[in-house]
């Protein structure tokens, strides 16, 4: 292995382990474990949100997609930012005020239904297992391209190190590590752009060559309908994404949440533009890679100077660990808090809940490794699939439910289940006609969910006023 890369890797992981151990001594209660004592400020919070958003799907998958398809995929970012704005205006303040630990907590209180809570918990488990597959697959691609080691080995190393600091410290450790990760990633990708541009001989020459390779790289590889579908999948899921929501709870107050979202969009804009440039320039330098998912690793390892390249590889692995950590926290909480604590053993002590949480984190980290080894699609494809499911079952009960008091428990259950099912069925049947019909599974899922939510809510018993008061304090019924 390249000695510079080895030194940077060892230093970074030593830092991660150190902060993990430090955090373990400061984690006492379940709330401490999950929400970092609600002490995070706007800048750190924004970096954490950006780090949670900027995952392997971005650094490996999105960069690879730009490598393969060029500029047009970049417009999907507007869907991402629209999702953040919806979240900042209509979701985050109310959820922060409510102060629940998990999204199923919100579902249970808002709709006064333990049945809805259980369904939300199960759907979180399913969708994030898919997402973890993308993360582990990305780590495998990096390992193959950079270290020449088998993907399984890389995945197990990622699982072990991430589970370690997640188990020890929860959000408190990950919040501060993610702050550093985001800075490293921004520096890594931003610094990579001028180096690549210098190698490639300038913008005009690069564009001219890319146009020659495939005219769509600089123009429209994807049409408006496809871009809207990508944007909808990303935006609708982010507006209601459970793992970002957990981050809101760790921040000081509602104002901090809004500021953090603005900071986060700033980070994402910088990284998004850099990722676009890197994808295109890597195509200029290496026009025929075996897999677009290897573009980022190849660029970092073969093009950049050793320290910058090592830094970027560490940033990519950090992004994977960061996202894996976030998801493990949410899914672990769903099992321990929402399923075990509510249904299996309602009288469980804090110590028992933390124990179950930690055991489920280990189990939930290992299952996706199996699927990642099967390599069902490329990294970006898996990420998009997962966002479509999230949007289909959570957007309506979370975003609409927070802003329409008439939504009921039966409506929420019907909306979540129906949206999930519609998305799934369309994906495997009507989706084949997507190119001609221009109707994506996420659009079918969300619309189905909305119709079911509204219609069923209209004909079922309203939620008690004491449950609604938390979310609609401005007026009585």
């Amino acid at each position: 292995m390249d000695p510079t890369l080895l030194v940077v890797l060892i230093s970074y992981f030593a830092l991660v382990v150190g902060i993990g151990i430090w955090s373990a001594f400061r984690t006492r209660t379940e709330e401490d474990f999950l929400a970092a004592g609600r002490t995070i400020g706007p800048f750190v919070g924004g970096a954490v949100l950006a780090a949670t958003q900027i995952s392997a799907g971005t650094v490996v998958g999105t960069l690879g997609r730009h490598y393969l398809t060029g500029v047009s995929f970049w417009w999907a970012w507007f869907g991402v930012w629209s999702g953040w704005l919806v979240s900042a205006l209509f979701v985050a303040p109310k959820l922060r005020r409510f102060g629940a630990l998990t999204v199923p907590d919100y579902i249970a209180v808002r709709y006064n239904s333990e049945r809805a809570r259980a369904l939300a918990g199960i759907l979180i488990l399913i969708s994030y297992t898919i997402y973890l597959v993308a993360q582990f697959q990305a780590s495998g691609e990096i390992a193959l391209a950079v270290f020449g080691i088998r993907p399984l080995t890389a995945m197990l190393v990622i699982v072990a190190s991430t589970a370690f600091y997640t188990l020890l410290g929860g959000v408190r450790s990950s919040s501060y590590i993610e702050f550093l990760q985001t800075l490293i990633m921004v520096a890594g990708v931003v610094v990579a752009v001028p180096v690549l541009l210098d190698h490639a001989g300038g913008v005009a020459q690069s564009i001219s060559f890319l146009e020659g390779l495939d005219g769509r790289l600089i123009g429209w590889y994807y049409g408006p309908k496809e871009i809207i579908a990508f944007g909808a999948a990303f935006g609708l899921s982010i507006a209601a994404a459970p793992y970002e929501m957990t981050r809101f709870y760790s921040m000081r107050d509602e104002r901090t949440v809004k500021q953090a979202i603005a900071v986060s969009i700033g980070f994402q804009l910088i990284i998004g533009l850099a990722v676009l440039a890197i994808g295109l320039l890597t195509r200029v330098l290496f026009p025929a890679l075996a897999s677009e998912d290897q573009a980022s690793s190849i660029m970092a390892f073969e093009v950049l100077p050793p320290i910058v390249g090592a830094l970027l590889i560490v940033a990519m692995l950090s992004a994977i660990m960061s996202t894996v950590n976030s998801i493990l926290l949410v899914t672990g909480a769903a099992v321990a808090h929402d399923l075990y604590g509510k249904f299996v053993r309602p009288m469980a002590s804090q110590a028992q809940l933390v124990f179950v949480n930690r055991v489920s984190i280990v189990a939930l980290a290992l299952i996706p490794v199996f699927f990642a080894l099967q390599k069902y699609g490329d990294v970006q494809a898996i990420v998009v699939e997962q966002t479509k499911f999230i949007a289909s079952f959570f957007f309506v009960p979370v975003v609409i439910g927070l802003n329409w008091r008439r939504g009921t428990a039966a409506g929420a259950v019907a909306g979540m289940f129906g949206g999930f099912l519609a998305c799934l069925v369309w994906e495997f049947t009507g989706q084949r006609g997507f190119a001609t019909h221009g109707i994506d599974a996420v659009e079918v899922g969300v619309v189905t969910s909305l119709i079911l939510f509204v219609v069923v809510s209209r004909y079922t018993r309203p939620v008690p006023e004491e449950n609604l008061r938390v979310f609609f304090p401005e007026r009585g019924r």
């Binding site: 391209a145 060559f209 320290i307």
Partner: protein
């Protein structure tokens, strides 16, 4: 959507590539040999057109067609016994030498691409070029890669600050500066907390 998003899944057909570049005072001669994993009549390659650089193919080096927009050439090289050969002469600005890249990718797990450059100035910083070169035998600078690059950028002379060098310096300073700022921030918070 998986079908829509699925990447350019191309069968791995480039078993190995051997590219040699001989730099002369006014020109560079590029000879490339591509070994294919399976028998086929021809292989298509792309060649980037670099500013200030002229490329003259040898007779028998396949069929050359300019790309749309003039950014490069599409080359159809004919293969026999799973091997295709190309030879061309580059004149003009020799700081970057274009290399023909087969459309079929190589196996990422293997470093099957051998690149050798003769005539690089002995005082040049080999690792600042693209791709990173290492000193080889008999004055050759060499690199082993998993993929064929679209050009070779000759390393700069010692004493010239390259973008790579500047980036490296910037990153080192940034990491050091951030570490100090982080420590100061933590110290300040603890101090305020104590008060």
């Amino acid at each position: 959507m998986l079908g829509l998003l699925a990447g350019a899944a191309v069968a791995l057909q480039l078993a190995a590539a051997d590219v040699t570049i001989e730099i002369h005072p006014d020109s560079a001669v590029v000879q490339a040999r591509y070994e294919l994993a399976a028998e086929r009549d021809s292989v298509r390659l792309s060649l980037i057109r670099l500013r200030g650089v002229s490329v003259t193919p040898d007779p028998g080096s396949g069929r050359w067609l300019p790309m749309t927009g003039g950014g490069g050439y599409w080359i159809t090289a004919y293969s026999a016994q799973r091997t295709a050969y190309l030879r061309y002469v580059v004149t003009g600005d020799l700081s970057r030498i274009p290399v023909a890249v087969p459309e079929i990718p190589a196996d990422p797990a293997e470093e099957g691409v051998a690149l050798r450059v003769l005539g690089v100035n002995s005082t040049a910083r080999l690792r600042d070029g693209f791709p990173r070169l290492e000193p080889g035998r008999d004055g050759w600078a060499v690199a082993r890669l998993a993929n064929v690059p679209s050009f070779v950028r000759l390393p700069p002379e010692t004493g010239v600050l390259s973008a790579s060098g500047a980036a490296q310096t910037f990153v080192v300073l940034l990491v050091a500066g951030s570490s100090v700022a982080w420590a100061l921030y933590g110290w300040r918070r603890r101090r305020v907390g104590a008060v």
